[in-house]
């Protein structure tokens, strides 16, 4: 349970990190792709503040925010996107394939869900009350392996929290064109109780997530949390097919930083902003100066 300043800082770190990526992408220093988390910061920060040492976190293609909120090193993430030796995975994984401590992300939608379920199951088999948190988007819900996993999680009582970040779009496809039925119902149909939250207020997210994660810890059973959220930036770095007015409306009503800002004094906000700007600048410059990987590769 963090205070308002800590949460503001955590969200701002993600926002500035992602802005820096988008801003500098054109220069070509980032080889590859990126999927920025701008607008969705409250989810990662609100959910992951409840994660403890033995817990595990699984993420998807849009993993920068999750990684930073988990406690991942900003310079190492910059370096990974630059393909440097100091990158989180030494430049092997890039933006979508990150692993550090108990944090894992993979670029194949849905594919991490059974794996996260297995890590949860292993926790129960070993004993203890570690939990697993796994993030997925609304689009990923098209993948059948997710439902195979939910069924096993419920059958075998795997302490896993399935978090759906429902930004109502998959790449360019609005949810209406991709999803029949409703999201919570898809979890409940497989024996996984689900909560639905429409908010990008980090306090609300943190409160609800805290309750559900506690529930998972205590019961040792799977739960789902569906968070209605908004993606402000393009899917990747490229063109956004959505109307500008639509984006403007989102930024006006859904910005977690704006919503949370009011809880801090102006001075406090300015200090945090300056410190975060400096931290990001510093992490970026350091990564930029980091060495390329030693060129020798062998299959695992």
């Amino acid at each position: 349970m963090r205070d308002s300043a800590a949460r503001y800082r955590a969200m701002l770190r993600i926002r500035r990190f992602e802005e820096t990526i988008l801003d500098k992408f054109a220069t070509g220093i980032f080889h590859g792709t990126t999927h920025t988390y701008i607008g969705e910061e409250a989810n990662a920060v609100g959910v992951l503040e409840h994660v403890r040492d033995g817990d595990s976190v699984f993420s998807n293609h849009r993993c920068h925010g999750h990684f930073l909120a988990y406690g991942g090193d900003m310079r190492a993430l910059f370096a990974e996107l630059m393909g440097k030796a100091t990158g989180v995975c030494g430049g092997r994984g890039g933006s979508q394939h990150i692993h550090w401590r108990n944090f894992y992300s993979n670029g194949v939608l849905g594919s991490t869900i059974p794996v996260a379920t297995g890590v949860g199951l292993a926790g129960r088999l070993r004993g203890g009350d570690d939990v697993v948190v796994v993030f997925m988007g609304d689009g990923a819900l098209g993948e059948g392996v997710i439902y195979e996993s939910l069924n096993m999680a419920a059958l075998w009582r795997a302490p896993v929290l399935y978090v759906v970040e429902n930004n109502r779009i998959a790449q360019t496809t609005p949810i209406e064109l991709a999803m029949a039925g409703g999201i919570p119902g898809r979890f409940e149909a497989f024996g996984v109780p689900a909560r639905d939250l429409t908010s990008s207020d980090v306090e609300e997210v943190a409160a609800t997530a805290g309750d559900v994660i506690e529930e998972v810890r205590e019961t040792g059973e799977p739960r789902a949390l569906v968070i209605d959220t908004r993606r402000f930036a393009p899917h990747s770095k490229g063109d956004d097919t959505r109307a500008e007015s639509e984006i403007a409306e989102m930024r006006a009503n859904w910005d977690p930083l704006v919503i949370h800002a009011s809880r801090l004094g102006e001075g406090e906000r300015e200090t945090i902003t300056e410190e975060v700007n400096a931290e990001v600048e510093q992490a970026f410059t350091t990564a930029l100066g980091d060495p390329e990987p030693r060129v020798e590769v062998g299959a695992a």
Binding site: H31, G83, G90, G144, E292, V295
Partner: protein
């Protein structure tokens, strides 16, 4: 100056215009986006009712498309990244490739599955692979790859007219290549039938002496091999014949080595296979095996491919793992040296 991308896109437009039973399915294929790599651009504006954007359900929509094909329609399915063909393996291997045969041989399954393979964009291990080898040697399936040396759009249109199932393997970096690339003006290129409706191109530096070496390649690596061929001729006086194949499997009639490749090998007695996928159990192994089995003399052989490793994201590491012009040149030099020495 048509690009491979424009040619494929035109092929799709032509197919949809001439045949009302052609449907396009895939993720994010609708305009204005027109697909992650823009191959389907303009189709949904022109034929709104025949372009269907799908949920992220690769196995499911390939199965649905199989049902359309069973019903006499001609679905063209896009799998956004070639890496995700791993999700459709069952529908392809135990489904659409078998139905025609196992149900007594009476059924047509006119489905085309298009997907872009390939790296060099730093997308990392799950978005950069060249995985067609998973689907080489699947009975009942035809595997094609377009080439800038031939006619990508025409090949795609012919594949759509094919009564049987086709895996159509594209390549991310190939999309921007020009069909009439002046870079290749130095080459004399001869076109032949390969098998069925697929063609082969045999290229040599115009006016060069007798070729010492046959290079067999397809897709984007064929174009890189073409660059290597020119470089070798001018800088190293190594003269080669490049045989570009549109059909990866079956290679030729009855699966035998296609005629143009046989002919070239008769001239050179030396084979270099080139592909972007990982080395072991790649396309080159079968080509090499067929060539050796068919030849009475001892062939000099070698294969150029990616290292047996996942594709790293980092530019430096990716360049190390994936084969390129210099890998072709290097392998050719070693082969020739071994012959001379």
């Amino acid at each position: 100056m048509t690009t491979v991308l424009e040619s494929l896109n035109a092929g799709l437009h032509a197919a949809m215009e001439t045949d009302a039973s052609v449907y396009v399915l895939g993720e994010d294929v609708l305009d204005p986006y027109g697909g992650a790599f823009k191959v389907t651009r303009g189709l949904s504006n022109a034929y709104p009712e025949r372009v269907i954007t799908t949920p992220v359900s690769e196995a499911g929509f390939v199965g649905v498309a199989t049902g359309l094909a069973l019903s006499g329609l001609r679905p063209v399915v896009e799998v956004m990244f070639g890496d995700f063909v791993t999700l459709i393996t069952d529908q392809v291997v135990n489904g659409l490739s078998k139905y025609g045969w196992m149900y007594g041989g009476s059924l047509d399954i006119p489905i085309v599955i298009r997907t872009p393979m390939g790296g060099r964009r730093g997308y990392g291990p799950t978005h950069s692979q060249t995985l067609e080898k998973l689907f080489l040697g699947v009975p009942g399936l035809r595997v094609l790859a377009p080439s800038a040396f031939l006619d990508p759009g025409a090949l795609l249109k012919a594949a759509i007219d094919d009564p049987g199932p086709v895996l159509f393997v594209e390549n991310k970096l190939q999309y921007q290549r020009r069909l009439d690339d002046p870079m290749f003006s130095a080459l004399a290129i001869q076109h032949d039938r390969q098998e069925g409706y697929a063609s082969a191109a045999t290229a040599g530096v115009a006016g060069a002496p007798r070729p010492q070496l046959t290079i067999a390649a397809y897709g984007d690596m064929a174009e890189r091999a073409g660059e290597a061929q020119i470089k070798m001729a001018y800088e190293l006086e190594i003269f080669s014949e490049l045989v570009v194949l549109e059909q990866l499997d079956p290679l030729g009639p009855g699966g035998d080595l296609p005629r143009p490749l046989q002919d070239s090998l008769r001239r050179t007695g030396c084979l270099l296979t080139v592909e972007e996928g990982t080395f072991t159990h790649g396309w080159g192994a079968e080509v090499l095996a067929r060539a050796v089995e068919a030849s009475s003399q001892k062939l000099a052989v070698a294969r150029v491919a990616a290292l047996d490793s996942p594709v790293p994201a980092s530019r430096a590491l990716e360049a190390l793992v994936l084969p390129d012009i210099d890998s072709v040149v290097g392998a050719a030099q070693k082969l020739i040296a071994a012959l001379d020495g």
